[in-house]
């Protein structure tokens, strides 16, 4: 089934199994030997994503929330094709760009400037485009003289600013963002939101994983609540946040108790 005219991304029944090996055969010799033993190849199966279906339209911002281990990052990585899925179907229209992890795709030995060139190439920009946008990227990242130092000397916040600066200059059709917005300081966060909205106006669809409920409520058109790999709720931000918050409160209560008991 091909996408309807306004859709850019559709997930249908996506499952992803994760195998936790007791002792995974990492060598050809081991695999061979284990095969002959009765119970050599033993692993636990764990479903990181279960029957996830989702549709994204042009220029839509969809947030994904959920507890730790609910499969949010896995979902983004499966859409980005970094991880394979076990069952299901993903249909994509256009270019997918990602902003996952800190220092997404940075080589530590290279300087910030060189990494911009490399990341531009990774994200599909041509050399001319990168040269054109270089100054604008450097200005947004606001790293000062550090732009010419090796990236391994950067702090987490600097990584984030640089990664984000590059990502917003790529004309992607779909941008996947994984919890990195929480890492920057407040002035940076104030810079981010207008940029995300600008991208939406240009027609880029955003899929954002975030724990920050205010962020989800303010800019997302829809929010998805993922719980242990399953989609527990999809809807407008206010609806989903209302359903999601009680479970947050419970976890907070439990951890507070854990802190208080001697």
């Amino acid at each position: 089934m091909s996408l309807s005219s306004n859709e850019v991304l559709r997930l249908e029944g996506v499952w992803r199994q994760y195998r936790r090996w007791q002792r995974r055969p990492v060598s050809v010799k081991e695999a061979f030997v284990r095969f002959f033993k009765r119970n050599g190849l033993v692993y636990e199966k764990f479903w990181a994503l279960q029957d996830v279906s989702l549709s994204l339209k042009r220029g839509e911002i969809v947030g994904i929330c959920g507890g730790n281990g609910s499969g949010k990052s896995t979902l983004l990585r499966v859409v980005a094709r970094i991880l394979p899925m076990t069952h299901g179907r993903i249909t994509v229209m256009g270019k997918v760009s990602t902003l996952l992890n800190l220092g997404a795709g940075f080589l530590p030995e290279l300087t910030g400037r060189e990494n911009i060139a490399l990341n531009g190439a990774i994200m599909g920009l041509g050399d001319a485009e990168v040269a054109l946008k270089m100054d604008s990227i450097i200005e947004f990242a606001d790293l000062g003289a550090f732009i010419d130092s090796p990236v391994k000397s950067y702090s987490a916040g600097m990584y984030t600013r640089l990664g984000f600066a590059i990502a917003i200059h790529v004309d992607a059709d779909i941008l996947l963002i994984d919890e990195i917005l929480a890492v920057g300081d407040e002035s940076f966060q104030k810079k981010c939101t207008p940029q995300l909205l600008r991208m939406r106006r240009n027609g880029t669809a955003l899929l954002i994983v975030s724990h920050a409920l205010p962020l989800l409520s303010s800019i997302c058109d829809r929010v998805v609540w993922l719980d242990r790999g399953r989609v527990k709720a999809i809807g407008s931000p206010s609806e989903v946040v209302r359903q999601y918050s009680p479970s947050l409160a419970t976890t907070q209560k439990v951890s507070k108790l854990a802190l208080e008991t001697p």
């Binding site: 060598s27 050809v28 190849l41 094709r81 970094i82 899925m85 076990t86 490399l118 990774i122 041509g126």
Partner: protein, 282 residues
């Protein structure tokens, strides 16, 4: 039985049932351009990182061939009396060694590319085939950079370049494609089995001796020639000798070699496409 083991190590699902399928209207020409541009950047980065911070830089990569040249000349020419027709042994040897080193380094680095580039793969989405190809290309550029020195070395020994030298681009192309074909195959499997590296490091020297690098093919007994020529590097190495040393162009062995190369390339591409998506799981 085989099914069970393949399934348990994920190979079956990957090789025979494509479980992953992304479709959409893609700008094919744009994708090719993007991949080529990425390969260019990665190749450049490979070379820059290899030689950055090393004072002698390029000279180091010549050290290994120089060492082998001295040792093998002593062993095979002085002791074993190997004498290629019409060409001084050191020239014959160096031509073969440079070509073989290119193949071996390119294949190993292409094979290890998904493992070495894991931090890049885990964090960004890009066509993974760019990694082994750029690894092969950087070795290729190293080889091409060493060729003028080879020509100078040859002329010092009185071997003048012939018109066969015009076929030089094909030499580089054949060696590169061979390295990429095997490299793709290895790159797919290497993340799953980490000791494959050691296995390959044992097999390569064996293959070296089954190829006419330290001896001319004329020394191979006729009885063995049929099986010997099934080695794809035999035809390619003879081609190398023809281009640089004016030896006669190979016929059947080169045809066999190219045929096998095409098969290997297709197989390598298939394996790589099926398995590369799984490299992050381990």
């Amino acid at each position: 039985m085989i099914n069970r083991i393949l399934q348990d190590v994920d190979l079956k699902e990957s090789l025979f049932d494509p479980v992953y399928h992304i479709e959409g209207e893609t700008d094919v020409r744009g994708e090719w351009y993007r991949t080529a541009n990425l390969i260019k950047h990665l190749t450049w980065r490979n070379l820059a990182m290899r030689y950055r911070g090393s004072a002698l830089g390029f000279a180091w990569s010549l050290l290994n061939p120089a060492f082998l040249l001295a040792t093998y000349t002593f062993t095979f020419h002085f002791i074993f009396r190997v004498t290629p027709a019409g060409v001084p042994f050191p020239v014959f040897l160096l031509t073969g060694i440079l070509a073989w080193n290119f193949l071996s380094v390119a294949t190993m680095s292409a094979g290890a590319s998904l493992v070495d580039g894991a931090n890049l793969i885990n964090k960004a989405a890009f066509p993974r085939i760019a990694l082994p190809i750029s690894a092969g290309l950087s070795s290729g550029l190293n080889y091409v950079a060493a060729l003028p020195l080879l020509i100078i070395f040859s002329s010092l020994f009185g071997v003048a370049p012939t018109q066969y030298l015009l076929l030089l681009p094909f030499v580089v192309l054949l060696l590169l494609l061979m390295a990429i074909a095997i490299g793709l195959l290895l790159a797919g499997v290497m993340p799953l089995f980490s000791d494959l590296q050691h296995l390959i490091e044992v097999l390569f020297p064996m293959w070296f001796f089954l190829t006419p690098v330290v001896y001319p093919i004329s020394m191979v007994p006729d009885k063995a020639l049929f099986w010997y020529q099934l080695n794809p590097m035999v035809g390619i190495m003879q081609f190398v000798h023809a281009v640089f040393l004016g030896q006669p162009l190979p016929g059947a062995s080169l045809v066999i070699a190219v045929g096998e190369l095409v098969c290997l390339l297709c197989f390598g591409l298939w394996i790589f496409n099926r398995l590369s998506i799984h490299c992050c799981e381990v």
